[in-house]
Every structure is written in C-alpha cells, then in structure tokens.
Subunit: 765 residues, 2 copies
Amino acid sequence: MRDSWKITGETFSNDTESIMRNGNIYQIANGYMGYRGTLDEFGAEERVAVTLAGVFDRVGDAWREPVNAPNGGFTQVIIDGEPVSARHTAVLRHSQTLNLRNASFERETVYKTRGKTVTIASSRFLSAQHPNLGVIRYSVRCDKAADLGISTGIDGNIWDLNGPHLGDLRTERHEDILLVSAVTSEASKIVAVAEGIAFGVGRERDCDGSLRLVEFAAEAGKTYSLTKFFAVHTEFDRIGLAAADAAVESVRRAKALGYDACLAAHNDCWAEKWRLCDVAIEGDEAAQQALRYSIFQLLIAAPIAGSQNSISARALSGQVYKGAIFWDTEMFMLPFFLHTYPEKAVELLRYRIRTLDGARRKALTEGAGFKGAFYAWESQETGDDACTYFNIGDPLTKRDLRTHFRDKQVHVSGDVAIAMWEYFKLTGDDSLLLQGGAEVILECARFYYSYAYFKKDKNRYEILDVIGPDEYHERVNNNAFTNMVAKATFEIANATAEYLAQNHPKAFRALIDKLAIAQELPLFVDAAKLLYVPEPDPKTGLIEQFEGYFNLTDTTIEELKAKKIHPDEYLGAGQGLAVPTKVIKQADVVMMLNLFKDRYSKEVKRANWEYYEPRTEHGSSLSPCAYAMLAAEFGNLDVAYRYFMKTAKIDLEARYNIYVGTTFTGGSHPAANGGAWMAAVFGFGGVSADETHVAIAPRLYRNWKSLRFNLAYKGDSFTVTVAQDAVEITGAAGNAAARSFVVWGEAAPCAPGKSLVIKRDKKVA
Amino acid sequence: MRDSWKITGETFSNDTESIMRNGNIYQIANGYMGYRGTLDEFGAEERVAVTLAGVFDRVGDAWREPVNAPNGGFTQVIIDGEPVSARHTAVLRHSQTLNLRNASFERETVYKTRGKTVTIASSRFLSAQHPNLGVIRYSVRCDKAADLGISTGIDGNIWDLNGPHLGDLRTERHEDILLVSAVTSEASKIVAVAEGIAFGVGRERDCDGSLRLVEFAAEAGKTYSLTKFFAVHTEFDRIGLAAADAAVESVRRAKALGYDACLAAHNDCWAEKWRLCDVAIEGDEAAQQALRYSIFQLLIAAPIAGSQNSISARALSGQVYKGAIFWDTEMFMLPFFLHTYPEKAVELLRYRIRTLDGARRKALTEGAGFKGAFYAWESQETGDDACTYFNIGDPLTKRDLRTHFRDKQVHVSGDVAIAMWEYFKLTGDDSLLLQGGAEVILECARFYYSYAYFKKDKNRYEILDVIGPDEYHERVNNNAFTNMVAKATFEIANATAEYLAQNHPKAFRALIDKLAIAQELPLFVDAAKLLYVPEPDPKTGLIEQFEGYFNLTDTTIEELKAKKIHPDEYLGAGQGLAVPTKVIKQADVVMMLNLFKDRYSKEVKRANWEYYEPRTEHGSSLSPCAYAMLAAEFGNLDVAYRYFMKTAKIDLEARYNIYVGTTFTGGSHPAANGGAWMAAVFGFGGVSADETHVAIAPRLYRNWKSLRFNLAYKGDSFTVTVAQDAVEITGAAGNAAARSFVVWGEAAPCAPGKSLVIKRDKKVA
C-alpha cells in the first residue's frame, strides 16, 4: 500500500535530466533556504543548490537571481583512495525517500567498488525551528575491511544560472567548525556558511580548503555514523550578530544540542504545520499523495516568521525565473495560507507592503508614466521589476524576443489589492490594512485610474493595451479578467476608504493626507461604476476574452504545434504561431469566473469552460487548476478530477517542459500546488468564504469516500469533513465565537468546541 | 550636353535585374495603361507588362492586384528561320531612349547573326488622346539579302506576380485585325486586346494563335517599316461598346487615321501637359533632368478624365504593392496636381469619394468597430482594404509577419480629409465638397472621434495604438503626426460644416440628415480643441514622435544593420531590429512639420530635423523629400539639395532595393516623384498657398540660376520665375481676377495678363 506521506524512488538514473528532475522532486526547504534532492556526494554539475530566500544578486548584464549558498551538506566517502559517487561508481541498489511528514530526505545506496560492497545512508533536514540550520546524519558500512576516508565540509563550487554571485570566498576554522564566507557581487553583502561534524573515529585533516578529510580503518560490516550540522547566515538577515559569527554560533549550538534534540524540535514544528494544513482524501490514494505532496511544497516554501518575504514562482527549488515573486503568490498560493495558516499569509502580504515603493517607481517609469502602484511582474527584494522587456529567447534567431509581460500585465496590481482585502474579509483582522495594506489598495486603484481611458461616446472607462493571464495575446484591449480585476480594485478601494473612515478616522485622515489622494476618491467611485467589463453574450453566455478575440482564427492546438520550426519556439510575443489564433496559453476568462464566481451563473461558467477548454494549451502551470475548479463549480466532476490530478501531480511527476524558448524553466510549481489545494477544497469541497460566512456546497468526486480539511476563519479554527452526503464541521475548543457556515444553502452556525453534521437532505444532525 | 528631355541608354545588359530595372526606367504610360520599358521581342520572362489602371483581380488566396493585359506590342524578327532577340542574339550596338516630351520609347539594336548584321529600330507611344490605344513604328534592315519573317501580334503569355488573372483566352480575327479576349478570374469581366498592322510587303500567315508571321525576301541594306496599332478595352471601362468590339473599333480607327495623325494628336496633348506642369531649373542639368523625369512619371500615371481613378504606389509600372492606392497619393502626389493640373487632382479626390463606402465598411470591421470612414491602407477599386494583416514575409522563417499597417495606420483618413479641403482652399471650387467631399470629411472626423479616447485626469483626447508614418514602430500612442492629422481633420470638419451651413444650407441639411450626424458635430468642436498633440519641448524644441520614443535605445543605422542575419530581413513588425531603438523608417515628426509648417517655428523645424535625420533609415521612398523640404524651410540648402536629388533620382537611377522581407517591391515611385516637385517648388521655391493668397519666399540653391514653374490658383494660371534675388510672376491673359501673392513677406497682387517682378530688396519692379 502506498504511503501518502512518503515519496520513494528505488533506482538511480545516471543521466543529467533525471538528476535534475529528482533534484526538484526530492527537494526540502524551510522557508529560509531550499536544498535540492541531490545526493550527499553531488556537486555543481549535478545541480546541487542551497537557494536562499530573499537574497538576490546580479552579475553584469545577466538576470538578477537568488543567491545559492556554498553547500554545507557535502559529504563523500573515499574507499582505498577512490571517491565513491553514484555518477562514477557501480550502484548495486539505491533508494531515496522524501518524508513529507517532517520534510526530511533519506537515501541509501549500495556501491560495488574494488571488490567491496559499500553502503552509504543519510538523512537530511533543514530545521523548521531554527531556519538557518541544516542537519544530516550520514553513515557508511563496508562488507570488508577497508581504508575509508570521509570528505566532508562546505563545497564552494556553486551551480548558478547567471552567476557567479559570490566572490572573495574565504575559509576559516573556528575550532572544529569550518566557515566559508563570501561576498555578493552586487550589494557586497556577506553570505556565510558554517559546518561542524560529530564523528567519533578517525583522524581529521584539512583538505582542499573548505573540506576536511576523516580517515580511518573500517572494520568489515561495521556501520560508522557521522552527524553534520551546517548553518547559513547572510547580511540580508535581520539579525544582531555578524553573519559569519552567527553561522558559527548556530552550528556550535546545534552540536551542543545534538542531533536528536534538533530533530525533535523540527518534528514538532512540522506536526503543527500538518495539523493546520493537511487535507485527507479517503478512497483515492493517488489523489491523496499528490495533494499532500502539493501542500508539502507550499509549506516548505512558506516564508519564515517576520521575514516579510514571499514565495517565488519556483519556490526554493533553484534560481529559475530569477527567484521572483509573480501574481502566482496572491492568486494561487495565498488562498491556501489564508484558509489554513494565516500567519504565513501575513508574511506574503507584508512583502507587498514592503515593496510598495518599488511598485510606485515602476508606475512612474512605465509607458507614459502613471500614478499609484504598478506592482512588478517579477518582484525581488525591492519591488522594482526584474522582468526584462526581452524576456524570452527565440531558438530560431537566438535573439531575445520583446515581450510585454513587464509593462502590460497590469492585472498584477489588482491581484495584490484583492489579496490584501481578502485577508481582511476572512480574518476580520484590520491590522494589516492599518499597517500599509490600505495604502497598497488605494495606490493600486490610483494606478488603474491613471491607466484607464474614458470612452465618451460609450460613457465608460476602458482598460487598454494589456496582457491578460493568457500571455500569447499581448497588448489587447478590454481583457475581461483585467477589467474585472480593475473594477474590483476600485470597489475594494472604496470599501477600504469607507471602512477606515468609519472605524479608524484618524488613521484614515493621516493616510489620505500622506497620499494626497482626497480628490481622487470620488473618481474611484465613478470608475467602479463605469468601468466596462465584457459581459456574457445574452444568447450563448460567452464572454469575449478581449476585444477582437472572437475574430481570431480558430485552429487546434495540434495544428498549431505542427507548424513549429523548432520544438522550443515560443507561441506568443507578437509574431508567435498562437497570436493570430484563438489558442490561449492558459485560463483567462475561466480564471475570472473562478475569482469572481459569485458574479456569474452556472450556465455562464459551463458555456465558457466548454468554449475555452479546447482552445487552451495549458502552456502555464497556472492553468489546469482553474479548469478543475470551474468544472467542479458547474458539476462536471470527471473533468474536474482530471484537471485536479494534472495540477496536483505536476511536481511529483516533474514531467513539465524545462525550456520555454531558450530559457531554462525547470523547478517546482508552487502556484500549481496551491491550485491543487484550491481544486480540492474550493472545487470538490465547495468552500467559499466572505466576510459574513463560510459557504460549503460540496460536490465530492465519486471515488472519494471523504475529504477532510481545516479552515481558519476570523481567527478561529475548524475541521471540515465532507462525505458524499454529509458535512461535519468541528469548531476548535479555543475558538472565540460561533461562526456562520452555510452548507448546501442552509445556515449552520458552529460554536467553539462543537461539531455539527449537515446531511445533503438538509437536516442538521 | 545633356538633353534633359531624353533618357538614353547606350548598352544592353543581358541580365534579369538590369532588364527589370530598365523596364521601370523606360516605362511609358497614359493613365489608362502602362507599358514597361522592354524591347519589342521581349515576353513574360523579361517582365513585359501592360498594366491596366483600376482593373483588379484575385486568384485564390494570393494578393489581389492589377491585371496585366495581353501584350499587343509584341514584334520579333526572324532571319533565315532564326528568331532575333537581345537575350539570345549577339548585340553589336544598342541604344534606347525615353522621350519625356511626348512619352515615347525608342530603341535601335544592331544584331549580328548568321554572318549578317540586322538593325531593328522601333518607337512606341501610348496615346494621350485616345488612352486605349498604343502605337508602334517598327523597322528592320539587313546588311545582306535575307529571308525575313516578322512575327507580330498579341502575346498572351503574361507576366503576373499573383496570376494568372485571365482565363479563357480566345483569339479571333476581324478582317486584318487580331483580337484576344479573356476573362478575369474573380469578376469574370472581359479584357480585350486588338491589334492591326500596316506593312506593305510580304505574305502574312497566322502562326501560334494570336501572332501573325509576315514573310518576305529582304534586300540588302533596305529598311522595311511596319506600323502597329493595339488597343485595350475592358469591361471595367465605362463605355458603350462591348470591350472586344471597342478594341477592334479603336484599332480600325487608328489604322484609318494613320501613324502620323495619331502621333500628332498625342504630341498635342503632351505639349499641353508640359505647358501646365514643367519646372525649369537653369544652371543645374542633373537636377533639371531628374526633376523633369519625376514630373514625367506623375504625368504618365495621372488618371484619365472621368475615370475617378487614383495613382497607385508603383503607378503603372507593374503589379507591385497590389496596384493599391496609399496615402502616398494625397500627401505626396496630389500637391503637384493641385498646383499645376487641378483637373487630375479632381480625379484623385473623386476616387476617394467613390470608395467612401469601402472606408465605412473598414471602419465597422476593424478592431472594436468604429463609426465613420477608415480609409484603406491599400485601396483598390472598391475601397475595401487590400492590405493583409500579414503583409511582409520573413526571410528567416519564411513566415508572413503580422504587421499593423492595415488596422493601425489611421492617419490615412485624415490625409484624405486634408487633401479634400486643400482642393477647396486652393481652387475655391466647392463642387467637390458638394459632390461627396464634405461627406468624406465628416465621415473621417467621425471615425477619429470613435477611435479617440478621453483621458479624464488630463482633460484631453488621445489617439492610441497607431502606426505613424514611421512603420518600424507599430502600435504607439499619441504619435505626433497622427494626432495632428486627426486634430486638423476635426478642424476641417468644423470648417466644412460652417461653410456649408452658410453657403449651401439646403445641401448641408440634407447631408447632416443623410449621415444622422447632427448630434456629433459639437463633439468634433470639442475634439478639435481638446485633442492632445505632443508639443515641442520648451528647452530643446524637440517633439517626441510618440509616447516613449525618447526612452528607446539610441543606436546608429549602421550598428543596427550589422546585426541582420539576412540582408532582406524587415526591421519592424514588433520583433524587428529597429523596434526597440530610435531608428525610424522614414520622416515622421519631420513629415508633420512639413504638412503643418505654419504651426511651427523655424527653430523647432531645425531642432527636429537635426535630431531625427541621423536616426532615419529612409527605408521608404517617401522620406527624403520631407527632409529636403524641411531643410529648405529652415535654410540648410546644401542638405536640402542632397535630399532633393535623392528623391528626384530615385526612378531615374532605379537603384532602390527590390525586396522588403520576401516581398518583391520593384517598380516606380510616384510619391517620391511628387516629393521631388514639392522639394523644388515648396522647398527651394518657397511656395505655400492657402485660401487667401500664395506666399512665395524662395531660397534658391546656390548653383541654380533660376527656377521656373507654373501655379494654378483659384482657377487661374501663373508662371513664376525665381532667380536668386528676384521673383517674376506672370498671370495668364485669360485669368479671371487679380490674385494675392505675398513674396518675401510683401503683398503682390497679380492681375490677368500682367507680370510683376519682386526683388529680394522688396522693391516691386
């Protein structure tokens, strides 16, 4: 029977692509750093990476990207003078396991070399309690007596996409602790890695700078175990100690605590994460594992407390997409955190507050110059846009293609504003609004007002010249998704102003004065009323994705792809094959129908799903979950399930393309992971919450016996168990008040410490 | 000494490209049809073409283009059974001459074959009096006695770019007249060519269908002359007789009249054309010839009376650019006709009136759908747009590039409206306004109103998402040229309404009712006032070509071209090399400063000229004349002269590129020809006329002794002779009234039959 808590591989494939894909599948992380699922003895060539959250650097004209730290987890056995590696030594058996329960990686490999059988096992975790810390237990056994060496320490040979980012690498020893410190190229800030081991045998001597070699005569059949602690600190951290000292100190303390204590604290943290966030699917092991794996990906990427960091599009799996934060976070990951783990949602949102000035700078400098906040399409630590105007390489000409992701994908500002408001609606906590959230919202509305045009003869505002979620069609007018997001932003800005005026008049006045925005507030009211959003056709129910979409050429995705000259050629960017056609990259109208599901009928949802689905290439990992949720919404559960599994398995199977144009895009997909959670809980679970209540209208997939998940709502916690014909809601004992639930249309208040069961025939048990 | 009335070539170059280029240089035409400058014995392979004005056809999915008629001018000598051709027979001597005075083409070739020397001479003209008619005198002489055959008749093997357009070719004989009639592929209309000869000797027999063979024993040294008449009539003509009968009848009558009478009538017509239109430059033979040649090109292309045809971008030199009419006509050719030959200007403008419905259809179907008249970027006989959305082939991928010439080059409507109003201003004749011109103007204003957006926070209308004259930068906002043209269109619409309301109230009311436009007229007043046009920077005087232009990358044209992968690759279309740079294809701001020269100071003109000139690639033949005119305007006569010569010699030297992308663009350049006239008369002559007077502020190029030209103004005729320090104006005796001239700022009324001389020291002689 499959253990849905474990991902296990029983073979070792010695090719670069498998090693790259396994590096993603088996990665661990703790919000501070990621460690790819590579073997202890691997190095830069095997794409080992210790990727740091929120630490960015740029070298020359290359892309700015996150910094990978020197690898404090390196260990390699040398038997009779011969280094052992899965790449170069005969592998008799190999297994590796990712343990989702505590985010640990284990491997065991049996090698045959020089007539001897050597077994190497290790277990690795990045501490969830002390996020600078990584801990490894490593053991080796040889069937015959042998001279063994263990080379271990810090590998300063770093895999970078656009590096090297670290210069001036220095190795020091602080008693038995190794320290490598280096300086980033752009900001000249220190990145320090310390490492210490506990190993009872052998003689230790330095070799090769930042590595040490422990030599001993191994007895036949005896297992030798080594414990290894490494810590990464950087000048980007907000800490008291200098990075190098802090790193040494972290290792020293961990050593003093010992492996078991470190692991126990780590496990406690993870138990709490799963208590909050797990979703149990009874009756479908494949779905269970895929969903749990997806949630796991979100949990390992969630920013550490107080960091005000966000989650980038490839999380901590490496440097792909510049380590940048996209709309992915607000639209696809945030709902999971908001509904299960609001303290992480706070970090994500504080990140947008922290980078508001960057968004202001972008607004001023894009196009004709705008007011307010135009959030970066690819946001790093300052909020200035890391997205280039030539963001995709053309394999045909080797030139970079002009794309308008940066300057025209204006929906990102509204996505942020909506997310900010959702937090307030679902938590009831206005502190974030008061600490910058309201400012973000008003500045986003201000941006849209300065971006919008008025069409006098039609008496309406329009949003022109944008890219919607479907990036194959650039520079379109009145994209339904974008216009609706902008309209919602104006509504939210108006609601924010109203709320603050009533509840925090002094803070409101101060904010209005600070922004000098008083005269613009009535304009937002006007715009909320008169901003045009393409309506469903009265006959067909279809919503035109943008002006002129319905006039484009109808073709199939297969026909289109058959025209490719090069397999990696990009289908958009103005001259791409998809541009003149109705083929879209990803959910766009369908995305809107999910985001604003209360505003559209089931019939409209179905009609648009059926129209757009065959025309969607799903060239983005953001797409399948939207089709899953909407199909569940109008009741086609079979296709909903198919799309749910597609989004849930994306990183587990890691079968995605690793190139778009000439750009390497391998890595994990936290937005799709968040989409899997949404498809399960919003889609099949039928959950939708607003400021007044949580509605639950489940439509369970036929093979599922039950679906159990937790919900955080207005500061309280609930466990919901959905069966085919009944819903059970249990309020935590510590909840502050009874909260309103509406199940299958029936009001069902849930008091602290109480359970209630609602059957589909609407009798409350 | 160079004879500026003759273009002579003294060699024959037997390569396809020379033959192609000479076909352009030596072409003749008469407004009804063109005949390329090819030799009598040439055929489709040598790009012989008899291109018909206003006759269009489409085959399959290929471009719609003008129809080439079967060649009634074909003649070939056969000596001792061997056909003689410059391609395959040894050429001892060859000369060919284009006579500008009467648009005739002559050639004389001495061949050596089979030990004999054969001299072939011919002279060809297309009747300016009877435009269906072509006449050729052909002679042959052999130095030794020989058996000669003359194969002559109608060559039905037609060179087409996107043909074949003519099907069902039938040959008949009407007594001694050959007739080929055929049917166009799309409209199934008849195109008929008749041919008859006068030749006193030999036996005639049919050979090869539409050709006849005349055989005779030639005496040594004796010249045998043949006269040949051919006529083209089509069902597109508006005539009484059926096309075939009409063609036969035309030939029959011409034969009856005889060669000399036909030629004399033709010559009379040409004498009158030159009397009206010639410009004489004393002291600069090269300039004189180039300018005369340019004027010649315009005269041969000018539409025949009553045709309501216009002049296409490659005139009658072939099928290039689909035989379509562009803004070239109104902005570059019309001024010449308006100032010298207004009856031709009327045809050009009536063409736009005739095709107004096509412009209305285009407005309704482009983009979001607009009101009013959006004239075709490439207009054929209906005014529907022949421009495709994929108008340039990419030599790198062999795909067609999406270009926005058709849907975004909205200035074309204003160009038409401005031209319509100019006619009224300069002729004082309101008949055209009343017969559709006013309707055109109002519908163009209506189009711009429905295209424009209002920016509430800036209290201005803007014109978004256009291509200005510089086609390398597509989809730009607030292009200075386009916005100014739109603003002028609103002004003209308001002036039109005012004029008609006062002077033709009944007709005005009828028009307003017909268009149901009464409620929109106040909007045009609002738009004329509030439409934004980028202003000169107060410090530098620079006008930004479009929003964001100044932020583009600065590079040199050489650097840019060095990046080309393929010599023919197009620099625009969204991903072209020029797109992210300040390199522009052609005059844009500079074009605006010419068109609206009264609105800008000399300093602004100079500043912008100097800024944009080094950034202009002159990838369009429309560009150099604009730089010439503006340089003359602010007094840099040396560069003005250089650009004047560039535009004036374009077709004479025919050194232009013949491919843009993968598209064949060879042929003549009547817009540049019109630009040469403008550079001479507006630029160096300093002429600018409006409804109140003709201003003349000459700035003669230093090598020119004098410049003499005619002006038509308010129905009267004047001859102006500009010397370095004096201007002489002579009013025709038949003029109706004294007209106001202002020379070097001094008022100088010129009465009928009177001359006046104004010296630069401003004393009127």
